[in-house]
Amino acid sequence: MWSFSNIADSIQNWLNQTFSATWSLVMQMLIAGIAVISLFAILGLVLVLMERKVSAWMQIRLGPNRVGPKGILQTLADTLKLLVKEGLTPAGADKILFNLAPVLALVIGMLLMAPIAFAKDFQLWNLNIGVLYISAVSSVMVISILMAGWASNNKYSLMGAMRSGAQIVSYELSAGLSILTIVVLCGSLNIPDIIYSQADGWWIFKGHIPAIISFVIFIIAVTAETNRAPFDLAEAESELTAGFHTEYSGMKFALFFLAEYVNVFIVCAIGATLFLGGWMPFHIGQWESFNRVMDYIPSSIWFFGKTFFLIFLIMWFRWTFPRLRIDQLLNLEWKYLLPISMINLLLVTVIAILGWHF
């Protein structure tokens, strides 16, 4: 059947036959790089439009509907505007760090794309410690925000950056622990292994209540990690005007904006991979015929469907909840989420050792 992995394999075979081994590898890397960059751009366009449409739907508005049919070209027009806008560097700013920060934010997003399985056996880099790699690289994200806040030489930016530093470092713990529960359950850090272990049912169904608890904690923690409302204290429009990116304009701002949305996509993709089976179709135990029917839906549709469902969930939060205060935010993590996820991890370990999961 038609699938991404077949296309990838045929391209690889063709390259190997036509070029020498070294050149073939270089070409493959180039193609992968271009694919990631274009996926990045497309995701940015789609997610920004989706956010605007979702918010409009929740706020009894129409949303963008002028540029292109149903406004689908609106983001393109916005990007064009941001491209031609002057990218200002404030006089008192640390020029190198100031200009480096948005690029760093983007690069981290791109790095995180590598081990994600977009479709059946379709992955840029099959890393045996994929999950660890993701949590390690995503924690570098805070550096770009701190860098931006510090280099801007603006008090609002600095406060936004400090808030964000405290927030991301705290919530990383819960996110990491809830990822660990799945790792404990399936006994592997490799992303394809994790997905194949869900062939007879997704972990959220197989792992009893602890898996559901860790899924909820994961969603809360990643919402905070990506600085999305109700945890958008780093930006906190009504308090800090725009937080860490107050001084950014033009394309530099656009890079931050893009990085935010791509990060949302990535964390949702990870959530879908770990808890909802990634590209794995919805299977129920031994129901062979049902599973066969589900397999007819292409794996990439399963993956993107689940991911976009989680993205919608996170957007739903943003347009419903008021923002937390900084001390409440840290209380929530250190007093509630962290102890709960620790106990939860213990429970899951017991379940895994005794083999109680399905």
Binding site: P230, D232, E237, S238, T241, T320, R323, R325
Partner: protein, 371 residues
């Protein structure tokens, strides 16, 4: 005076919130001394939108000066105009027809609902919830449409004149108001479901920006801010004007004095306003909408004062007349100014995020503070 130019003193961070800032909803300038995220001192700076309305009014006749007051608290434009009309009527001892009185009260209550709606949306936006803003504006738009039909304007209606109201009600008025009230009862419930019960919202509001009863009195806080601290200060109840003595309504008083109390006062006031409108909408007396007045109004020599309850609190008009066609001296007592003065007291020691929530519950309209 020039403190705000320096960056730090004793390691504190001094930031200027405003004059252009998303949370101030106007050109208010707050100089805040911060220790980390905690507020040590807060100093409001005014004057960015000063238009010397009081001085302007001294060169306008008693018919003309009313319209300038719409530009002060533009969300209570009707009620400001009403106060001015009342003080002129008091000076000239004009007997206002009953019909005009009832129409005035109806309009004032509709204005109050519209104002509280905008406050609700803007305050929710201050604490980070965007959606309520749009939901509030949907209903506010209906009120604006009703106003537009009768008064010809949506924001600065200029409908009140000395002796009554400017023109007859639109034939659709009663029908539309009844429809609106029916819809609005459901919507208020929806608002409460969306925001009031939310745990994040409760945590952001409860025990934040506490203003004790004594402090509220000494700072001169009125309106929902004063009543949230347990001060009985509803002018409609204490010194009834126009048709307020003919209607049944409760003065909403909460005793906690925190942000949540101020919030609840306004939400409950919405219900009271609905009930006032319901009592009057079917009982608008027949008769003239305006008393016969002289073409040129001249207040007798003396001093005149009238206070009314706007959506933000007690609004007073003080006129000194020398007997001419224009006031000799005019002074407005605006509720926002006194309410703002309590902000430093309330905000001291709380977090920056709470300041925004507090300002939201004070319901500041900057042109009202800075006339």
């Amino acid at each position: 005076m020039f403190e705000e130019i320096g960056t730090t003193t004793e390691g504190d961070l001094i930031i200027n919130v405003g004059p252009q800032h998303p949370a101030t909803h106007g050109v208010l300038h707050l100089v805040i001394t911060l220790n980390g995220e905690t507020i040590k001192k807060l100093e409001p700076h005014l004057g960015y939108i000063h238009r010397s309305i009081e001085k302007m009014c001294e060169s306008l006749t008693y018919r003309q000066f009313i319209y300038v007051t719409s530009r002060m608290d533009y969300l209570s434009a009707h009620i400001n105009n009403q106060a001015c009309a009342l003080v002129v009527e008091k000076g000239l001892q004009i007997e206002v027809p009953d019909r005009a009185k009832v129409i005035r009260v109806l309009m004032a209550e509709l204005t109050r609902i519209a104002s509280h709606e905008l406050w609700w949306g803007a305050m929710a936006m201050d604490i980070g919830a965007f959606t309520p803003f749009f939901h509030a504006f949907r209903e506010r738009e209906t009120i604006n449409d009703i106003m537009e039909e009768t008064c010809g304007a949506r924001l600065t209606m200029n409908y009140m004149v000395p002796g009554g109201v400017m023109q007859e009600l639109h034939p659709n008025f009663q029908k539309k108001v009844k429809e609106f009230i029916k819809l609005f009862r459901l919507k208020v419930h929806e608002y409460e479901e969306l925001l009031t019960g939310n745990i994040i919202f409760q945590n952001r509001m409860k025990d934040i920006g506490v203003l004790s009863k004594e402090d509220a009195i000494s700072y001169g806080c009125t309106g929902p801010v004063g009543r949230g601290s347990g001060v009985s200060c509803d002018i409609r109840k204490l010194y009834p004007y126009d048709a307020y003595d003919k209607v049944q309504f409760d003065e909403v008083i909460e005793t906690a004095g925190d942000s949540l109390a101020r919030y609840m006062v306004r939400i409950k006031e919405l219900h009271q306003s609905i009930s006032i409108i319901e009592q009057l909408i079917d009982n608008i007396p027949e008769g003239d909408y305006q008393a016969k007045t002289k073409a040129v109004l001249k207040l007798p020599k003396g001093e005149f004062y009238q206070r009314v309850e706007t959506a933000r609190g007690e609004f007073g008009v003080y006129i000194v007349s020398e007997g001419g066609t224009t006031p000799h001296r005019i002074k407005f007592r605006s509720p926002g100014f006194s309410n703002l003065s309590a902000l430093n007291h309330m905000a001291k020691g709380s977090k920056l995020g709470d300041l925004v929530a507090m300002m939201g519950t004070l319901d500041l309209v900057i042109p009202d503070i800075d006339r």
